[in-house]
Amino acid sequence: MGLFAMAKPAEPYPDFPAAAAGSRKRVRRMVNRVGLQAVLPAAMLVLVVSASGRAESGGLEAKIQYCQDCHGPSGQGYRGFYPIPRLAGQQTEYFENQLRAFVERRRPNNVMANVAHVLSPSMISALAADFRSFNPPPLGGAPRRQVAEGRRIFEDGLPGANVAACAACHGPDAMGKGQVPRLASQLYPYLVKVLTNWGKERGQLPAHPDTSFIMAPVAHSLTRAEIEAVAAYLSYLK
């Protein structure tokens, strides 16, 4: 039920203007500081550290906290009005690409566009690295009876229905790699929502096609019941 509500991408969302403004100030402060330090030759090292986002531990911690407001403690995922995805353990390349996708409207989501467009590239890298290192248990809550069927689809695909084995790209343990996301422990309702709505949520900027097109035929060829099964399986994987 809540799942179907997600199918409308233009739903008005609550926003976070105060936090966004605060982070803009922090970014400006960071830029200023880096500018001053760059005057000194010895500051080259600091610049390198800044580029990885590590110099701003205060700003980073506040931002991580902000992400966890919606994405749950340690980025475990959270069931708000919408299912809000787990970020913990996510592949950094995928994580960063999705934040850019929100900014560029390849992935239309008003809330996340607002969140993402104030992030500096170094903050994005730092967030990606931090969430990658978190490892909370799966949130759980999916129907157990579909798990075995879901595992079969994940590992073998449905060759007769031209559904590729998920494991070929996402890995045998669904940990993902590079641009291919980790799916292990992802929220059941989030996976169901994304897979039933792929063509309306991903790759929405025809002038800027992205790797999301790879999943389009897969999502299209899976039935609702098959999607539920594979989502249930993944949601319990650690």
């Binding site: 790209c169 996402h170 045998p172 993902g176 291919v180 035929p217």
Partner: protein, 236 residues
């Protein structure tokens, strides 16, 4: 299992040529050699009705392959490096799909993919991928190219490594059972050559052409494999 399909697939081996012939005939049709063309087309159909794969089915299967093997079979880096199929030799292509089915080449995912393919579909897929010509995916270290080219073209006589070019051809396009290597993903080539004896020729009761590569893969060092993989991956 599925041994019954082998004679069928053998019967279809001439099929890529036939598809190409059909294309040529189509052109001739347009240029008014109508009678000849019609006669040949009819003869082809009568010879092997199995070869008729409905266009829509073939397109759906191609799209399915491309999910993992990349647009136009260019290759793709998923969890594993997934090989380029574009421009591959049909004989090699078909033999590998048979190898997955017969567990000569052990790969659970590709076993599942392959064992539902009809012999006619297998032949059509081989012919279709042979005709695709996307750019190499790239991503290999360029500084290894020169060393790789030398190994590829000359081999390493002191280590009993023959020149790759002697079987795979000077442009690495392959021939018949010898696969095309040009444009192949370097990380894929690396993982095959460092793992040859655990992946290929795994059915002792049914030895295959993969035995040819075993000593070569064994005699190459990892840096040498990296170099030759980088070289072939950048070849168009």
């Amino acid at each position: 299992m599925n041994l019954g399909s082998r004679p069928g697939s053998r019967r279809c081996e001439a099929q890529p040529h036939r598809l190409r012939a059909a294309t040529n005939l189509g052109l001739q049709l347009a240029s008014a050699a109508l009678v000849v063309a019609t006669t040949c087309a009819t003869a082809t159909h009568a010879e092997d009705s199995k070869a008729e794969v409905p266009k829509q089915e073939l397109q759906a299967k191609m799209a399915y392959c491309e999910v993992c093997h990349g647009p136009n079979g260019q290759g793709f880096r998923g969890f594993y490096p997934i090989p380029r199929l574009a421009g591959q030799q049909p004989e090699y292509f078909e033999n590998q799909l048979q190898a997955f089915i017969e567990h000569r080449r052990t790969n659970n995912i590709m076993f599942n993919v392959a064992h539902v393919l009809s012999p006619a579909m297998l032949t059509s897929l081989a012919a279709n991928f042979k005709n695709l010509e996307p750019k190499p995916l790239g991503g290999a270290p360029k500084d290894l190219m020169a060393a790789g080219k030398k190994i590829y073209e000359e081999g390493i006589a002191t280590a009993e490594v023959p020149a790759c070019a002697s079987c795979h051809g000077p442009q690495a396009k392959g021939d018949g059972q010898f696969p095309r290597l040009a444009g192949q993903l370097n990380d894929y080539v690396f993982s095959k050559l460092t793992n040859w004896e655990k992946e290929r020729g795994q059915n002792p009761a049914n030895p295959d052409a993969s035995a040819i590569m075993a000593p070569v893969a064994h005699n190459l060092t990892k840096p040498q494999i990296e170099a030759v993989a980088a070289y072939v991956s950048n070849l168009e």
